[in-house]
Amino acid sequence: MAELTKERFKKVASDRFDKDVISRPTISYWGDAWRRLKKNPVAMFSLGLLILCVIMTIIGPYIRGLDFVTVNGVKKNLGPSGEFWFGSDSLGRDLFSRVWMGARVSIIVAVVCTAIQIIVGCIYGGIMAYYGGIVDEVMMRILEIITSMPSLLITLLVMMVLEKSVGALVFAMCVTAWCTTARQIRGQIMQLRESEYVMAAECLGASPMRIIIKHMIPNTLSILILNVASSIPSYIFTEASLSFLGMGLDSNSISLGVLISNGRATMDLYPYQLFFPALALCIIVLAFNLLGDGLRDALDPRLRQ
């Protein structure tokens, strides 16, 4: 202990301290979420994997420089080799190129569907929350009726009516999916409008613009991000399942579902024709799911420490 001198017992002017200063730097919600996501090795790994997959879907089909569309009667059903990394299919086409081509179609379909789902859901949910009252009531009943049916049933029925094509598939898969988003958005906006901190912001004279930017968007955005993260894999899934049942894209187009469906036919003799597309599908879906999990943990304000 240093020596006690009279000098040290001098009163200090009390205004020397900024009393209300908050000594810890504040971390913004998004900054914190990103920091936590970065600290999650699984999520970062899956993010890297996804980026790799996306790059492969862009350049993958052309790496081998093989024609993967035209039938080649000579090189049918060849196992994986130096020429055909994943083997060739029953019509002699390079499976490696086809898998990445299929992944491209599957991912594009999933992304388009997700975009439609989010846009329609936001508009519908926003209108419900904005108008409220009888409009809300009627729109809610419509939602309830649509959601009270297994969605795959509706998708199947719609596919039955429409011709098989990518557009029809997108429409059929989106026809019910937006309901969940609409419901979540409505719930979130309603809750926010009632919430005390928005009321407090209003009382402090915050402009509606500020409330929308500072409170509404950040709070709904996290829901939307999670929605995207969980929707994309589920669309990839549904596409594959529908094509498997023969109700998705027709067997001449290339998508992961079609490849799996074709692979099943030759499963007993040439299992690799099923294995590679199925593996690609699983890896892509797994990466999306893992990233989604990481995002959920990162965005959950209750988990902030």
Binding site: A2, E7, R8, V12, F17, K19, S23, R24
Partner: protein, 339 residues
């Protein structure tokens, strides 16, 4: 009277990503049998953590530091086995939480929640006997139609009744030690007084020792014999309630006392408040934790921790103003040395 509980140099930290938050930084006090003491302090000063530690309820990421001791009847409860802990909790010590709605299981009938405690510590008792006992407990805490009420769920109770039910659970096995963690904070003022009176009556009747934890000095006055004032994880002053109320020896206590609304003051007088916020416990200040908010802060206060100064009769305070060298420094008028 003999010592029931001795807390020695208790240190509890929470480990978060930002670092170690030192919630409790070396707290020592003791409690005699049948005695009621109060721990007073503002939010975040570590009083609830202290209470939970005494009940052995600290969980990850919280950690009790080496060297801390909580001696209950000669036994360090921090070293109890799981089984011994089970016998200690409920039977020897019980706790009442602030928010009774959150502290009662929403899907279990109130009577059953009381019976649970009774059956746990009286293995030979039958269910129907335990139910009768639970009804008796509810009657004791002043719940009318106790028999019907015992079959209801917590959400069917009013706020005050829920807190009474909590008290019934706590007293079900006649514990020697009751910890009341802000038992009245969530209640209306009128109900607050009833609940405090109930706790006081039961304490007298059953000769229970009580640790009352609160941020409201007004609540403490007629319940606790002794008061411990905590600030940012440390005890800054402790002593008899009379000493604390009439002869405070720490600027923080003075400021707290001035912040209690009083009827005998003139209407025009503005209620005093303490400016500023408590220090960040992630990086506790080197000197006196109160120095940044203290109106009488001296240079040394920011540099070194003050020692406890004894004033007799167990009254002690940690403040540099009591150092002989500070004899002629400005101090709160309550603390003026009367010669």
């Amino acid at each position: 009277m003999s010592k029931l509980l001795e807390v020695k140099d208790l240190r509890v930290s929470y480990h978060t990503y930002a670092g170690e938050v030192q919630s409790v930084r070396g707290v020592s006090f003791d409690l005699e049998e049948g005695e009621a003491i109060a721990i007073v302090g503002e939010s975040g000063c570590g009083k609830s953590v202290t209470a939970k530690t005494i009940m052995g309820l600290i969980k990850e990421p919280g950690k009790i530091k080496e060297g801390s001791e909580i001696i209950y009847r000669g036994q360090d409860i921090l070293k109890l086995s799981k089984k011994e802990m089970g016998q200690y909790r409920g039977k020897e010590a019980a706790i009442i939480f602030q928010d009774a709605l959150a502290a009662l299981n929403p899907t279990m009938r109130v009577g059953k929640q009381i019976m649970e405690n009774i059956l746990q510590h009286n293995k030979s008792m039958s269910k129907s006997e335990a139910f009768e006992e639970a009804v008796k407990m509810l009657e004791m805490v002043g719940i009318p139609d106790a028999r019907q009420r015992a079959k209801q769920y917590p959400h069917e109770f009013s706020g005050g009744m829920r807190q009474r039910a909590m008290i019934a659970i706590a007293f079900a096995c006649q514990p020697k030690l009751l910890i009341a963690d802000e038992p009245t904070t969530a209640l209306d003022v009128t109900i607050q007084a009833q609940i405090m009176r109930l706790i006081k009556d039961l304490q007298k009747k059953l000769n229970t020792s009580v640790i009352l934890i609160t941020h409201d000095l007004g609540v403490v006055a007629n319940v606790a014999k002794r008061i411990v004032v905590m600030y940012s994880g440390k005890i800054v002053e402790s002593g008899n309630s009379e000493d604390i109320f009439y002869h405070p020896k720490h600027p923080y206590t003075c400021a707290l006392l001035n912040a209690v609304p009083r009827l005998d003051l003139e209407n025009k007088q503005v209620l005093a408040s303490i400016e500023g916020t408590p220090p960040d416990l992630l990086d506790p200040p080197k000197g006196c934790p109160f120095c940044t908010r203290c109106r009488y802060c001296m240079k040394i206060c920011c540099e070194e921790l003050p020692e406890m100064t004894q004033f007799g009769d167990g009254h002690q305070a940690a403040c540099w103003l009591h150092h002989p060298m500070a004899a002629d420094c400005e101090r709160p008028k309550e603390m003026e040395v009367s010669k």
